[in-house]
């Protein structure tokens, strides 16, 4: 049954991803009334699917690459909903919703063939959830910084008319970028701390010699440096995009390192 709800969610995300294009790019307000409710309903069914999966596995979380990606998709969909409600802009949906569709499409229609690792520990679930939230926040911050760059260029080149465009104002984008980072940072810090404590208890100090784990700490340092620089020098525009892109690359490397790590894998050994 959870697969059915997940498929419904993917369908709704797909509708939202398509509707958001005329809503934002062509400034057609009526499509907003399709995009937002569809994304909201998609997130709801996605949540139902997740809850049913948990229930079916007796409150254990089946963890594989697909399931994790699907959870990341749900967090990104939630980010879209929150942004739309807070800033009255659906522009972020142009980037977020297709990613959400991609992240949920495979788990919904081609469920994983990996041997599932069932997690019974709530702490481990929190570790995964918090780190995924940090990744989602970083992705959002990167999109906001890129949009800042586009809007800045349009204003500088006098390409803009005074009518509303799909890109939010510069200060709004800057706020979103910074707030997303400020939200993601504690998530990443607590997520890594929980992971470290669990690793110490289960594997011991050898865990910290793992390349994946070392990269994760490098990611944390890069993340905190980025926030420090942005807050204290008011870094915006091109340099902010370079910085966000660098940290995002580190995050991708950390994600990819799951495949190399011996001690930190989604698959059961």
């Amino acid at each position: 049954m959870s697969l059915l709800w997940l498929r419904v969610a993917v369908l709704l995300y797909g509708v939202a991803a398509l509707a958001v294009l005329p809503a934002a790019l062509y400034n057609q307000p009526r499509w907003r009334h399709v995009a937002f409710p569809a994304a909201l309903a998609g997130a709801f069914f996605h949540f139902v699917a997740l809850a049913e999966t948990l229930s079916a596995a007796h409150h254990a979380l089946p963890v594989d690459t697909h399931e994790t990606l699907s959870l990341l998709g749900l967090l990104l969909a939630a980010a879209f909903v929150i942004l739309t409600l807070s800033y009255r802009t659906v522009s972020f949906g142009i980037f977020l919703l297709p990613v959400v569709v991609l992240l949920t499409l495979v788990p919904a229609f081609h469920p994983g063939h990996e041997t599932l690792l069932y997690i019974h520990s709530g702490w481990l679930f929190l570790h995964i959830g918090l780190l995924l939230a940090a990744y989602a926040a970083l992705f959002l911050s990167l999109i906001a910084s890129l949009l800042y760059l586009v809007q800045e260029r349009r204003l500088k080149r006098k390409l803009t008319t005074s009518k509303r465009t799909w890109i939010p104002p510069l200060e709004t984008l800057d706020q979103i970028a910074l707030k997303a980072l400020l939200f993601g940072f504690p998530c990443m810090t607590v997520g890594l701390l929980i992971g470290s404590v669990i690793a110490l208890e289960t594997i011991g100090p050898a865990f910290f010699a793992d390349p994946k784990v070392l990269l994760s700490f490098a990611m944390w340092i890069a993340y905190s440096l980025m926030i420090f620089i942005r807050r204290h020098s008011g870094l915006r525009g091109r340099r902010a995009v370079y910085l966000s892109s660098f940290v995002f690359l580190v995050v991708l490397a950390v994600w990819a390192a799951n495949q190399l790590s011996v001690v930190h894998r989604f698959k059961a050994p």
């Binding site: 400034n27 307000p29 500088k156 803009t160 005074s162 009518k163 200060e171 008011g234 525009g237």
Partner: protein, 448 residues
């Protein structure tokens, strides 16, 4: 002139910026403080059932519903009201007055509420002004509540608000602004989003900078600084723009570069280069220093001086946005063209909505008659059934027999009424077709 419904008698009469010069509009304008009294007075004119007055700087319009008996003379009554209430000679106003009736009155009202009849097409203020007039008319009893009484104007006004909303939602008519000052304000919004809490600095003096500052204040800017070579002139400008909602201050001209970082938007209109000064007021070096002090928060230069006060290269500095008068004019021209295209789409929405509403109005009496006829027939049928039941009291019918008699009388009633009901429906449909836009003649009638 189309007649939708002989007993509706909807009349809209007025002057606007296209038919009357400002001298005439000024004489006819009804201040907000007198609007309630004027509306009440109009509503008490002989034969007037409901009334509304819309008075803005660009128009004065009277909208009234007349009783059938006075249908032949509504416009003289309205003209006389203007003459008596405002003490204006009929001869002075008659050449400028237009009037619309029925469908065309509905259409005009929808156009006004949707800002298609405004001087700046698409501006949002007019809808608020129509709502204000409606609210005043309801308060003084000049418009009856839809629920409590049979009102014509209340549902019509509510429909006008829905149509205006539809026009704003389905077209982009409200998303472009055309004046230089409003373009500058809109561009500022693209940089800062809400202007609430933002600081505007005016350097120099001039009507355009004054107007731009006013637009920025209207958009929410809360602090206004003025800097001028002549301190007293700066103080005079600050005083003129001061309102209870904003804080104003004067920056000594010699401290301009040290203090300019306090401003998010800088409007320059000194034309310093024209007065023989070699350097422009803001150079790239000034702009970089300013941004450092602002910790890279963006700053928007609106340079309306000719020759320019801000070096063109300042626009290349990250975080600085410079728009000179030509840039602003270019945006305004593009917006005007775009607005005309949107206006065509909006006109089409208004026309179809007006025709639909007029159709509903025309069918309303037929619907009421049909309802009445059916109610009467049902009352007769029930009474006959009761009489028959009383006659057969000694030998009561079984429930099955009662049901059969009930069905028989229902069927008989329906068949007997069929011809009358069809005639009523056809008559209403015929009236609607006659009132469709294709069958109407000249939309307006100029008096005089």
């Amino acid at each position: 002139m189309s007649e939708i419904k002989p007993n509706t008698n909807l009349l809209l009469l007025g002057v606007n910026h296209t038919t009357a010069p400002v001298e005439v509009r000024e004489r006819l304008a009804i201040p907000a403080a007198r609007l309630a009294d004027a509306t009440r007075t109009l509503a008490h004119q002989p034969g007037v059932r409901e009334a509304l007055i819309l008075s803005t700087c660009n128009r004065v319009e009277l909208l009234a519903v007349y009783e059938s008996a006075s249908a032949s003379e509504p416009s003289p009554i309205a003209i006389r009201f203007l003459q008596d209430y405002l003490n204006v000679g009929v001869a002075d106003i008659q050449p400028h007055v237009y009037q619309y009736r029925e469908l065309e009155a509905i259409r005009h009202l929808f156009r006004v509420a949707s800002s298609l009849d405004s001087m700046v097409v698409g501006e949002a203020q007019i809808l608020g002004q129509v709502k204000q007039s409606w609210s005043v008319a309801r308060e003084v009893g000049a418009i009856r509540s839809t629920d409590a009484f049979s009102s014509t104007l209340d549902p019509l006004l509510q429909r006008a608000f829905s149509v205006a909303k539809r026009v704003r939602t389905e077209t982009r008519i409200g998303s472009t602004s055309v004046s230089i000052a409003s373009v500058a304000a809109e561009l500022a919004r693209k940089i800062f989003g809400s202007l609430a809490g933002k600081t505007v600095l005016i350097v120099g003096a001039g009507k355009m900078s004054d107007l731009t500052a006013r637009h920025l204040i209207e958009q929410g800017a809360t602090t206004l600084l003025v800097s001028n070579r002549t301190q007293s002139r700066a103080e005079a400008i600050a005083d003129a723009l001061r309102t209870p909602a904003i804080t104003t201050g004067v920056l000594p001209f010699e401290q301009l570069h040290d203090q300019a970082h306090r401003a998010d938007v800088i409007i320059t209109s000194t034309g310093a280069a024209a007065s023989g000064e070699s350097a422009q007021l803001f150079t790239t070096a000034n702009a970089r220093a300013l941004l450092r002090s602002r910790r890279n928060r963006p700053v928007f230069f609106i340079d309306i001086a000719v020759p320019r006060d801000v070096e063109a290269a300042v626009n290349e500095v990250e975080g600085c946005f410079v728009y000179d008068i030509d840039d602003l004019q270019q945006v305004a021209v593009v917006n005007q063209a775009s607005r005309s295209r949107e206006a065509e789409a909006a006109e089409s929405i208004v026309s179809s909505e007006a025709a639909r509403y007029a159709g509903r109005l025309a069918q309303a009496p037929a619907t009421e008659s049909i309802k009445q006829l059916l109610q009467n027939a049902e009352a007769v049928r029930q009474s006959e059934l009761a009489r028959t039941a009383a006659r057969l009291a000694s030998q009561p019918l079984s429930p099955e027999q009662l049901a059969a008699v009930d069905a028989l009388t229902q069927s008989l009633t329906s068949k007997l009424l069929h011809a009358q009901l069809t005639a009523l429906r056809e008559s209403a449909a015929g009236t609607t077709a006659a009132s469709s836009p294709e069958s109407t003649g000249n939309p307006s009638t100029e008096i005089g």
